[in-house]
């Protein structure tokens, strides 16, 4: 177990390193950071001065080595725009994004699991077809469109919920539904497929032959087996949500990491963008590790392969 954690940590370190290289190179080659800082009206002399001031005139390798050395000390650099430490800027935004992602996941799982179980129990019925239609629509409608429709209906027409900002829990309801409804269909279909397979398993027939109650069979014996693959997908979907939050937070003006990313991208604030990409990739790695550990906790066969 410890060996596993050690190997996974090494792998995580390697992935973070690779991502830092890619984001650094892309952000320095694709655009001239000096232009981003100085703005469109800057003269050549202004640009030259900025390049010297920020070290952009140095070879790329030297710049990257400096960046990496700072990173190793926990220093993510300073925003080109505000001059504030990037770590501090991101830390202020993390709670809103974390809350949004958790609420979205809760929404997605809260719908996906019961609906998937129901669809499996009534496979090929009208209920199943309705769930499938919902899944297809959910995956086909882009986040920004779903978000706008929700704003129009619940925010403007009915006036039930706030449509912009992140001051109260109510502000998170529409963004969470928008973000969650994108992750929900894949989870629902996996629960459905898993339940259909498990309900045909020999051990479910054994449970029925032993006269166990249908509720016990469904929610204890079958669901525990059916959710095993769902855990891995949930981790992946949670990662997607962090990426998707860039669009959703922008639509609803939620002051989170996603909104910050959009603001930084539109102003070429490279240190912030790099830090956000690194943060999201690290969370992704941690999520897959948690998913593996959760699977091991639920499935003794994985545990005993030691």
């Amino acid at each position: 177990m410890l060996g596993f954690l050690f190997r996974r940590s090494l792998l995580a370190l390697f992935v973070v390193f690779a991502i830092s290289v890619i984001t650094f190179v892309l952000s320095h080659v694709a655009v001239d950071p000096a232009t981003g800082i100085a703005g469109d009206s800057a003269t050549d002399a202004d640009l030259a001065a900025i390049r010297v001031q920020y070290g952009f005139d140095q070879p790329l390798m030297t710049q990257y080595a400096g960046y990496l050395a700072d990173l190793a000390r926990g220093d993510l650099g300073r925003s080109y725009l505000s001059g504030e430490p990037v770590g501090q800027i991101i830390a202020e935004r993390v709670p809103a994004t974390a809350l949004l992602a958790c609420l979205s996941l809760l929404f997605a799982l809260g719908i996906a699991i019961p609906l998937g179980v129901l669809a499996a129990l009534h496979a090929n019925s009208w209920l199943d077809r309705m769930a499938l239609t919902l899944a297809v629509v959910g995956q086909a409608v882009p986040n920004f469109w779903a978000g706008l429709l929700l704003i129009l209906l619940f925010g403007i027409k009915l006036g039930w919920l706030p449509i912009s900002g992140s001051d109260s829990l109510a502000h998170f309801i529409l963004p969470a539904i928008t973000l969650g409804s994108f992750a929900m269909p894949a989870l629902m279909r996996l629960v459905r497929a898993g339940m259909i397979e498990v309900l045909e398993a020999d051990y479910i027939r054994t449970a029925r032959a032993m006269g166990l109650g249908e509720g016990q069979i469904l929610f204890k014996y079958a669901l525990r087996n059916a959710v095993l693959p769902v855990i891995s997908l949930t981790a992946v979907q949670f990662g997607f949500m962090l990426g998707g939050s860039i669009v959703v937070e922008s639509i609803f003006a939620v002051q989170g990491v996603g909104y910050l990313a959009w603001q930084s991208m539109s102003r070429s604030d490279m240190p912030v963008i790099q830090a956000i990409v690194l943060l999201i990739s690290m969370i992704y790695i941690l999520l897959t590790l948690f998913a593996d550990l959760a699977n091991a906790a639920l499935d003794p066969r994985i545990r005993s392969k030691a």
């Binding site: 060996g3 029925r208 032993m210 006269g211 014996y221 091991a296 066969r301 030691a306």
Partner: protein, 526 residues
Amino acid sequence: MTLDTTAAAGAITVRDLHVRIGEVHAVRGIDFTLSAGRTLALVGESGSGKSMTALALMGLNPPGARVTAERLALDDGTTPQNARGDRIAMIFQEPMTALNPVFTIGDQLCAVYRRHRGGSMRAARERAVELLDRVGVPSARTRLGQYPHMMSGGQRQRVLIAMALMCEPDFLIADEPTTALDVTTQVKLLDLLAGLRDEFGLGMLFITHDLGVVARIADDVAVMKHGEIVETGPCARVLTAPEHSYTRSLIDSLPQPVPPTAHDGAAPVLSAHGLGRVYPPRGMFGGTPFRALTDASLSLSKGEVLGIVGESGCGKSTLARILIGLDRPTEGRVELGGEDMRNLPQKLRARRIQPVFQDPFGSLNPSWTIRRILDLPLRLHTQLDTSARKARVLELLKDVGLPERAAEATPRALSGGQRQRVAIARALAAEPQILICDEPTSALDVSVQAQVLELLRGLIRERDLSMVFISHDLAVVQAICDRVIVMDLGRIVEESATDRLFAAPRHARTQALKDAVLELPDTGTT
């Protein structure tokens, strides 16, 4: 046809039972009575309706099944589905998949007890320990905390038997409970079930395709064919003096020993020298390497059939995979016609040595026609043009006793026996010198098994083929092999001519395998 066993008080009466699934009339108006303290064996080949009968009796019908009966009830009028797990329990064929993999043995046993009897978890656990002890699971109390995958197939089946007995049922339905187990485990479990029947006065419905099993455990027999009971009666009478031609044909299909042919002195076409196979650890948390094969040496002469027998996990399939070239040994070498197999190009090796696997349902591509399946090895290993290959496919079908029209069918349209014939034809297409057959008849009904064995015998004679025949069934081995190797724990423990090996086994494992052969009464047939 009606079978009334004893007129004991406790009984399940079945009158005019029909099961229909869509257009298929799977069970066609059968009658029987299952009485306390007796075993009724329901015998038949696949598709005869015997498992459908058992499921109908439990109310566990597959989706879309329509069950009707004039009477299907216990003596007090209770329907079986209302007595499930309490007065009637059932055990199934596949102990490896019949227990929930993510719950402990204790959880699963206790859930049944508490569902029907209530009471505390402590009382349920005591009952579970008592029964695990009774069915011969060692260290019963420790086992409660273990998961199914930590146990062997035999132990899991014992756990399932204990689970079935948790609430002291009056009736036990056993659907091929020993078919998936090793022969020595099978005998022990049959004796255990017979003991439990006598001790608890259980009425037992025992479903099987194996007449040897019937002889060992049943008081009465009902023979099923095409959804009907064609013959019933006391076990000894039905097996020794069958009245119906179908029962007679089942008994006649049992494999009979044939005298082996000696092949001494001939140069080996295939030989193995000191083979070993160690598998590296698997799984995401690491682990220890697994040694599947140790120092295995053998030789096979032209025209010879070499049997490899042993229980599951003894290394016989690992050895077969290495001999075919599907796996590489970590120690030792295989020689094909005197040449080291590692130095032979893969195509040449495949041309000389071809496999026939156990499962004819999984070993043929379901979306290809039989013509395409047989055409592939012809294209790979011969220079024939399209029309010549077409003709050769038809010849191959004829050689294995299939009609020409089978060429245009997909595997789905064929029966298990027909599919295994296609698998044999595919192996023959490359005109190999050697066939490696891994349990080629164990998924087949006894009458189909007899036909496939006859086909293989004929092919060996006509083509002077050599064959390695892997099986757990000693009766089949005696019917086809010249020489036999016995394996245990990854090693070859005994080797001898087939008749000598069975007449005077030297190793304890061979003796145990021989003792596990179930014989029919009087006829002396296995």
